[in-house]
Symmetry: C2
Subunit: 200 residues, 2 copies
Protein backbone atom coordinates (compact mmCIF):
# COMPACT_ATOMS: atom_id res chain seq x y z
CA UNK A 1 0.00 0.00 0.00
CA UNK A 2 2.68 2.43 1.10
CA UNK A 3 4.98 0.96 -1.54
CA UNK A 4 2.65 1.70 -4.45
CA UNK A 5 2.20 5.33 -3.42
CA UNK A 6 5.91 5.87 -2.97
CA UNK A 7 6.61 4.28 -6.35
CA UNK A 8 4.41 6.71 -8.26
CA UNK A 9 5.94 9.73 -6.59
CA UNK A 10 9.48 8.33 -6.87
CA UNK A 11 9.05 7.83 -10.63
CA UNK A 12 8.27 11.54 -10.85
CA UNK A 13 5.45 10.86 -13.25
CA UNK A 14 4.51 14.21 -14.78
CA UNK A 15 0.97 13.05 -15.38
CA UNK A 16 0.20 13.04 -11.68
CA UNK A 17 2.20 16.04 -10.54
CA UNK A 18 -0.86 18.31 -10.38
CA UNK A 19 -2.87 15.61 -8.69
CA UNK A 20 -0.15 15.21 -6.06
CA UNK A 21 -0.02 18.94 -5.45
CA UNK A 22 -3.77 18.95 -4.87
CA UNK A 23 -3.51 16.14 -2.34
CA UNK A 24 -0.56 17.82 -0.63
CA UNK A 25 -2.44 21.12 -0.44
CA UNK A 26 -5.43 19.38 1.14
CA UNK A 27 -3.32 17.88 3.93
CA UNK A 28 -1.47 21.16 4.45
CA UNK A 29 -4.72 23.11 4.72
CA UNK A 30 -6.16 20.62 7.20
CA UNK A 31 -3.04 20.87 9.35
CA UNK A 32 -2.76 24.66 9.24
CA UNK A 33 -6.32 25.96 9.16
CA UNK A 34 -8.62 23.06 9.95
CA UNK A 35 -11.39 21.50 7.95
CA UNK A 36 -13.49 24.64 7.91
CA UNK A 37 -11.02 26.07 5.39
CA UNK A 38 -11.29 23.14 2.98
CA UNK A 39 -12.84 24.37 -0.28
CA UNK A 40 -11.81 23.66 -3.86
CA UNK A 41 -10.84 27.32 -4.21
CA UNK A 42 -8.52 27.35 -1.18
CA UNK A 43 -7.02 24.03 -2.23
CA UNK A 44 -6.33 25.30 -5.75
CA UNK A 45 -4.81 28.45 -4.28
CA UNK A 46 -2.42 26.54 -2.02
CA UNK A 47 -1.58 23.98 -4.73
CA UNK A 48 -0.98 26.73 -7.28
CA UNK A 49 -3.51 25.38 -9.78
CA UNK A 50 -6.97 26.43 -10.96
CA UNK A 51 -9.60 25.15 -8.56
CA UNK A 52 -11.57 23.47 -11.35
CA UNK A 53 -8.72 20.99 -11.76
CA UNK A 54 -9.70 19.51 -8.42
CA UNK A 55 -12.84 18.26 -10.15
CA UNK A 56 -10.86 16.96 -13.10
CA UNK A 57 -8.78 14.70 -10.85
CA UNK A 58 -11.41 13.84 -8.27
CA UNK A 59 -15.05 13.02 -8.95
CA UNK A 60 -16.04 14.57 -5.62
CA UNK A 61 -14.57 16.18 -2.54
CA UNK A 62 -15.06 12.95 -0.64
CA UNK A 63 -12.84 11.09 -3.14
CA UNK A 64 -10.16 13.72 -2.60
CA UNK A 65 -10.44 13.43 1.19
CA UNK A 66 -10.12 9.65 1.04
CA UNK A 67 -7.05 9.89 -1.18
CA UNK A 68 -5.47 12.51 1.06
CA UNK A 69 -6.23 10.49 4.16
CA UNK A 70 -4.70 7.37 2.62
CA UNK A 71 -1.49 9.20 1.80
CA UNK A 72 -1.22 10.52 5.36
CA UNK A 73 -2.10 7.12 6.80
CA UNK A 74 0.52 5.35 4.69
CA UNK A 75 3.15 7.83 5.80
CA UNK A 76 2.18 7.39 9.45
CA UNK A 77 2.32 3.60 9.19
CA UNK A 78 5.68 3.75 7.39
CA UNK A 79 7.07 6.09 10.05
CA UNK A 80 5.76 3.83 12.79
CA UNK A 81 7.33 0.79 11.13
CA UNK A 82 10.63 2.64 10.80
CA UNK A 83 10.78 3.71 14.43
CA UNK A 84 9.62 0.37 15.76
CA UNK A 85 11.96 -1.57 13.46
CA UNK A 86 14.43 -2.48 16.15
CA UNK A 87 14.37 -3.33 19.79
CA UNK A 88 11.16 -2.34 21.48
CA UNK A 89 11.57 0.28 24.19
CA UNK A 90 9.11 2.47 26.06
CA UNK A 91 11.22 5.47 25.16
CA UNK A 92 10.80 4.78 21.45
CA UNK A 93 7.12 4.15 21.97
CA UNK A 94 6.70 7.49 23.70
CA UNK A 95 8.60 9.19 20.88
CA UNK A 96 6.42 7.85 18.07
CA UNK A 97 3.22 8.26 20.02
CA UNK A 98 3.67 11.82 21.24
CA UNK A 99 3.66 13.45 17.82
CA UNK A 100 1.19 16.32 18.13
CA UNK A 101 1.27 17.18 14.42
CA UNK A 102 -0.15 13.82 13.36
CA UNK A 103 -2.81 14.09 16.08
CA UNK A 104 -3.94 17.44 14.75
CA UNK A 105 -4.46 16.24 11.17
CA UNK A 106 -6.17 13.09 12.37
CA UNK A 107 -8.69 15.13 14.37
CA UNK A 108 -9.49 17.20 11.30
CA UNK A 109 -10.06 14.13 9.14
CA UNK A 110 -12.42 12.71 11.75
CA UNK A 111 -14.32 16.00 11.75
CA UNK A 112 -14.59 15.84 7.95
CA UNK A 113 -15.70 12.22 8.20
CA UNK A 114 -18.83 13.26 10.11
CA UNK A 115 -20.28 14.31 6.76
CA UNK A 116 -18.62 11.64 4.60
CA UNK A 117 -19.50 8.04 5.53
CA UNK A 118 -17.01 6.43 3.12
CA UNK A 119 -14.20 8.46 4.68
CA UNK A 120 -15.36 7.39 8.13
CA UNK A 121 -14.99 3.73 7.21
CA UNK A 122 -11.53 4.37 5.79
CA UNK A 123 -10.46 6.14 8.99
CA UNK A 124 -11.85 3.44 11.27
CA UNK A 125 -10.02 0.71 9.37
CA UNK A 126 -6.74 2.62 9.51
CA UNK A 127 -7.13 3.61 13.15
CA UNK A 128 -7.58 -0.02 14.22
CA UNK A 129 -4.50 -1.06 12.25
CA UNK A 130 -2.39 1.79 13.64
CA UNK A 131 -3.53 1.20 17.23
CA UNK A 132 -2.88 -2.55 16.90
CA UNK A 133 0.66 -1.91 15.66
CA UNK A 134 1.30 0.58 18.47
CA UNK A 135 -0.16 -1.82 21.00
CA UNK A 136 2.07 -4.64 19.80
CA UNK A 137 5.11 -2.41 20.17
CA UNK A 138 4.08 -1.20 23.62
CA UNK A 139 3.51 -4.79 24.68
CA UNK A 140 6.99 -5.84 23.54
CA UNK A 141 8.59 -2.82 25.20
CA UNK A 142 6.83 -3.42 28.53
CA UNK A 143 7.69 -7.12 28.46
CA UNK A 144 11.34 -6.29 27.96
CA UNK A 145 12.04 -3.40 30.25
CA UNK A 146 9.33 -2.48 32.70
CA UNK A 147 10.01 -2.93 36.38
CA UNK A 148 8.05 -5.63 38.14
CA UNK A 149 6.66 -3.09 40.59
CA UNK A 150 3.99 -1.58 38.37
CA UNK A 151 2.35 -3.78 35.81
CA UNK A 152 0.43 -1.29 33.73
CA UNK A 153 -1.35 -2.98 30.82
CA UNK A 154 0.04 -1.92 27.42
CA UNK A 155 -3.38 -0.74 26.24
CA UNK A 156 -3.60 1.65 29.20
CA UNK A 157 -0.19 3.11 28.36
CA UNK A 158 -1.31 3.43 24.74
CA UNK A 159 -4.58 5.24 25.41
CA UNK A 160 -3.15 7.54 28.08
CA UNK A 161 -0.23 8.68 25.91
CA UNK A 162 -2.34 8.96 22.75
CA UNK A 163 -4.88 11.00 24.67
CA UNK A 164 -2.16 13.26 26.04
CA UNK A 165 -0.74 13.95 22.57
CA UNK A 166 -4.23 14.73 21.29
CA UNK A 167 -5.02 16.98 24.24
CA UNK A 168 -1.81 18.96 23.75
CA UNK A 169 -2.62 19.52 20.07
CA UNK A 170 -6.15 20.58 21.01
CA UNK A 171 -4.98 22.93 23.77
CA UNK A 172 -2.56 24.62 21.44
CA UNK A 173 -5.42 25.55 19.09
CA UNK A 174 -6.68 27.98 21.73
CA UNK A 175 -3.23 29.01 22.93
CA UNK A 176 -3.33 26.92 26.09
CA UNK A 177 -0.09 25.17 27.09
CA UNK A 178 -0.42 25.10 30.89
CA UNK A 179 1.16 21.99 32.32
CA UNK A 180 2.32 20.55 28.99
CA UNK A 181 6.05 20.86 29.67
CA UNK A 182 5.72 19.69 33.25
CA UNK A 183 3.81 16.60 32.18
CA UNK A 184 6.30 15.69 29.42
CA UNK A 185 9.21 16.15 31.79
CA UNK A 186 7.56 13.96 34.38
CA UNK A 187 6.89 11.20 31.86
CA UNK A 188 10.50 11.28 30.66
CA UNK A 189 11.76 11.06 34.22
CA UNK A 190 9.32 8.26 34.90
CA UNK A 191 10.64 6.39 31.87
CA UNK A 192 14.21 6.85 33.09
CA UNK A 193 13.37 5.60 36.57
CA UNK A 194 10.94 2.80 35.74
CA UNK A 195 12.52 1.08 32.78
CA UNK A 196 15.75 -0.80 32.28
CA UNK A 197 16.81 0.00 28.72
CA UNK A 198 19.10 -2.65 27.25
CA UNK A 199 20.43 -0.47 24.49
CA UNK A 200 19.17 2.59 22.62
Amino acid sequence: MSGAGQEIRARGSRAHETRDRIVDATIQLLAREGYGSITTRRIGEVAGVKYQLVHYYFASMEDLFIDAFRRGAEENLARLAEITDGEASLRRFWKVNSDAGASRVMVEFVALAQRHPALRLEIATYARRFRAAQLEFARAALARESLAADHIPPVVILLLTTGLAQLEAHDRLIGLTDGHDETRTWIENWLAANTTPVKE
Copy 2:
Protein backbone atom coordinates in the same frame (compact mmCIF):
# COMPACT_ATOMS: atom_id res chain seq x y z
CA MET B 1 -22.34 34.30 36.08
CA SER B 2 -24.02 30.94 36.41
CA GLY B 3 -26.60 32.47 38.74
CA ALA B 4 -27.74 35.13 36.32
CA GLY B 5 -28.29 32.64 33.53
CA GLN B 6 -30.18 30.25 35.80
CA GLU B 7 -32.34 33.09 37.07
CA ILE B 8 -33.59 34.08 33.63
CA ARG B 9 -34.48 30.51 32.71
CA ALA B 10 -35.96 29.82 36.16
CA ARG B 11 -38.27 32.84 35.86
CA GLY B 12 -39.63 31.24 32.71
CA SER B 13 -39.62 34.60 30.97
CA ARG B 14 -41.69 34.19 27.80
CA ALA B 15 -39.73 36.92 26.08
CA HIS B 16 -36.64 34.77 25.92
CA GLU B 17 -38.18 31.39 25.25
CA THR B 18 -37.38 31.46 21.53
CA ARG B 19 -33.90 32.73 22.23
CA ASP B 20 -33.30 29.87 24.65
CA ARG B 21 -34.54 27.33 22.13
CA ILE B 22 -32.09 28.68 19.57
CA VAL B 23 -29.19 28.41 22.01
CA ASP B 24 -30.26 24.89 23.01
CA ALA B 25 -30.55 23.82 19.38
CA THR B 26 -27.04 25.13 18.69
CA ILE B 27 -25.51 23.05 21.49
CA GLN B 28 -27.56 20.01 20.49
CA LEU B 29 -26.45 20.26 16.86
CA LEU B 30 -22.81 20.62 17.89
CA ALA B 31 -23.05 17.54 20.10
CA ARG B 32 -24.92 15.40 17.60
CA GLU B 33 -23.61 16.40 14.17
CA GLY B 34 -20.52 18.52 14.71
CA TYR B 35 -19.77 22.07 13.74
CA GLY B 36 -20.02 21.38 10.02
CA SER B 37 -23.80 21.17 10.47
CA ILE B 38 -24.15 24.55 12.12
CA THR B 39 -26.17 26.87 9.88
CA THR B 40 -28.99 29.24 10.74
CA ARG B 41 -31.35 27.05 8.71
CA ARG B 42 -30.43 23.83 10.55
CA ILE B 43 -30.58 25.62 13.90
CA GLY B 44 -34.04 26.99 13.14
CA GLU B 45 -35.17 23.52 12.08
CA VAL B 46 -33.99 21.89 15.33
CA ALA B 47 -35.31 24.76 17.47
CA GLY B 48 -38.67 24.70 15.71
CA VAL B 49 -38.53 28.36 14.69
CA LYS B 50 -37.98 30.25 11.44
CA TYR B 51 -34.27 30.59 10.76
CA GLN B 52 -34.50 34.35 10.34
CA LEU B 53 -35.27 34.65 14.05
CA VAL B 54 -31.68 33.64 14.72
CA HIS B 55 -30.70 37.01 13.28
CA TYR B 56 -33.34 38.80 15.30
CA TYR B 57 -31.86 37.52 18.57
CA PHE B 58 -28.20 37.48 17.58
CA ALA B 59 -26.39 40.11 15.56
CA SER B 60 -24.12 37.46 14.09
CA MET B 61 -23.40 33.75 14.27
CA GLU B 62 -20.35 34.46 16.39
CA ASP B 63 -22.54 36.16 19.01
CA LEU B 64 -24.74 33.07 19.07
CA PHE B 65 -21.73 30.78 19.44
CA ILE B 66 -20.36 32.83 22.32
CA ASP B 67 -23.72 32.78 24.09
CA ALA B 68 -24.10 29.04 23.57
CA PHE B 69 -20.56 28.41 24.76
CA ARG B 70 -21.14 30.50 27.88
CA ARG B 71 -24.24 28.54 28.76
CA GLY B 72 -22.37 25.24 28.41
CA ALA B 73 -19.37 26.61 30.30
CA GLU B 74 -21.52 27.84 33.18
CA GLU B 75 -23.20 24.45 33.43
CA ASN B 76 -19.83 22.69 33.43
CA LEU B 77 -18.45 24.97 36.13
CA ALA B 78 -21.59 24.54 38.23
CA ARG B 79 -21.42 20.76 37.87
CA LEU B 80 -17.73 20.82 38.79
CA ALA B 81 -18.43 22.98 41.85
CA GLU B 82 -21.23 20.64 42.90
CA ILE B 83 -19.12 17.49 42.66
CA THR B 84 -16.05 19.06 44.25
CA ASP B 85 -18.10 20.64 47.02
CA GLY B 86 -17.04 18.23 49.69
CA GLU B 87 -13.99 16.28 50.64
CA ALA B 88 -11.50 16.00 47.81
CA SER B 89 -10.94 12.47 46.57
CA LEU B 90 -9.28 11.07 43.49
CA ARG B 91 -12.39 9.01 42.83
CA ARG B 92 -14.54 12.13 42.66
CA PHE B 93 -11.94 13.82 40.51
CA TRP B 94 -11.99 10.91 38.05
CA LYS B 95 -15.78 11.01 37.98
CA VAL B 96 -16.07 14.67 37.04
CA ASN B 97 -13.14 14.57 34.64
CA SER B 98 -14.06 11.50 32.65
CA ASP B 99 -17.23 12.90 31.10
CA ALA B 100 -16.92 12.17 27.39
CA GLY B 101 -20.03 14.15 26.42
CA ALA B 102 -18.62 17.46 27.63
CA SER B 103 -15.35 16.69 25.85
CA ARG B 104 -17.16 16.20 22.57
CA VAL B 105 -18.95 19.56 22.65
CA MET B 106 -15.79 21.32 23.78
CA VAL B 107 -13.88 19.97 20.78
CA GLU B 108 -16.58 21.27 18.45
CA PHE B 109 -16.51 24.74 20.00
CA VAL B 110 -12.73 24.85 19.59
CA ALA B 111 -13.16 23.87 15.93
CA LEU B 112 -15.68 26.71 15.50
CA ALA B 113 -13.32 29.08 17.28
CA GLN B 114 -10.71 28.63 14.57
CA ARG B 115 -12.79 30.99 12.45
CA HIS B 116 -14.09 33.23 15.26
CA PRO B 117 -11.39 35.04 17.27
CA ALA B 118 -13.76 36.43 19.91
CA LEU B 119 -15.03 32.91 20.62
CA ARG B 120 -11.45 31.67 20.87
CA LEU B 121 -10.69 34.19 23.62
CA GLU B 122 -13.85 33.20 25.47
CA ILE B 123 -12.89 29.53 25.31
CA ALA B 124 -9.30 30.13 26.39
CA THR B 125 -10.44 32.15 29.40
CA TYR B 126 -12.93 29.47 30.43
CA ALA B 127 -10.52 26.58 29.81
CA ARG B 128 -7.89 28.14 32.10
CA ARG B 129 -10.51 28.67 34.81
CA PHE B 130 -11.86 25.13 34.50
CA ARG B 131 -8.41 23.55 34.44
CA ALA B 132 -7.32 25.59 37.45
CA ALA B 133 -10.36 24.47 39.43
CA GLN B 134 -9.79 20.84 38.46
CA LEU B 135 -6.10 21.14 39.31
CA GLU B 136 -6.89 22.56 42.71
CA PHE B 137 -9.23 19.67 43.40
CA ALA B 138 -6.72 17.07 42.16
CA ARG B 139 -4.05 18.67 44.36
CA ALA B 140 -6.25 18.48 47.44
CA ALA B 141 -7.23 14.88 46.69
CA LEU B 142 -3.65 13.75 46.16
CA ALA B 143 -2.47 15.52 49.30
CA ARG B 144 -5.14 13.73 51.33
CA GLU B 145 -5.15 10.21 50.06
CA SER B 146 -2.36 9.21 47.71
CA LEU B 147 0.12 6.61 48.88
CA ALA B 148 3.64 7.83 49.51
CA ALA B 149 5.03 5.35 46.96
CA ASP B 150 4.13 7.25 43.82
CA HIS B 151 4.15 11.00 43.92
CA ILE B 152 2.53 11.85 40.61
CA PRO B 153 2.13 15.63 40.21
CA PRO B 154 -1.53 16.73 40.15
CA VAL B 155 -1.10 18.40 36.77
CA VAL B 156 0.08 15.10 35.26
CA ILE B 157 -2.99 13.32 36.61
CA LEU B 158 -5.16 16.12 35.23
CA LEU B 159 -3.74 16.10 31.70
CA LEU B 160 -3.63 12.31 31.40
CA THR B 161 -7.24 11.85 32.49
CA THR B 162 -8.53 14.81 30.48
CA GLY B 163 -6.70 13.48 27.43
CA LEU B 164 -8.20 10.04 27.96
CA ALA B 165 -11.75 11.40 28.16
CA GLN B 166 -11.17 13.40 25.00
CA LEU B 167 -9.66 10.45 23.16
CA GLU B 168 -12.61 8.23 24.05
CA ALA B 169 -15.07 10.82 22.71
CA HIS B 170 -13.00 11.17 19.55
CA ASP B 171 -12.70 7.41 19.04
CA ARG B 172 -16.42 6.97 19.39
CA LEU B 173 -17.01 9.35 16.47
CA ILE B 174 -15.57 6.72 14.16
CA GLY B 175 -16.99 3.74 16.04
CA LEU B 176 -13.73 2.78 17.72
CA THR B 177 -13.93 1.63 21.34
CA ASP B 178 -11.01 -0.80 21.53
CA GLY B 179 -9.38 -0.72 24.94
CA HIS B 180 -11.75 1.85 26.44
CA ASP B 181 -13.35 -0.48 28.97
CA GLU B 182 -10.08 -2.14 29.88
CA THR B 183 -8.46 1.23 30.55
CA ARG B 184 -11.34 2.51 32.68
CA THR B 185 -11.38 -0.70 34.68
CA TRP B 186 -7.64 -0.48 35.26
CA ILE B 187 -7.89 3.13 36.43
CA GLU B 188 -10.69 2.27 38.86
CA ASN B 189 -8.67 -0.63 40.25
CA TRP B 190 -5.63 1.61 40.50
CA LEU B 191 -7.68 4.15 42.45
CA ALA B 192 -8.86 1.43 44.82
CA ALA B 193 -5.34 0.16 45.40
CA ASN B 194 -3.40 3.42 45.49
CA THR B 195 -5.62 5.70 47.52
CA THR B 196 -6.84 5.66 51.07
CA PRO B 197 -10.33 7.14 50.97
CA VAL B 198 -11.36 8.62 54.28
CA LYS B 199 -15.06 8.66 53.51
CA GLU B 200 -17.12 8.79 50.31
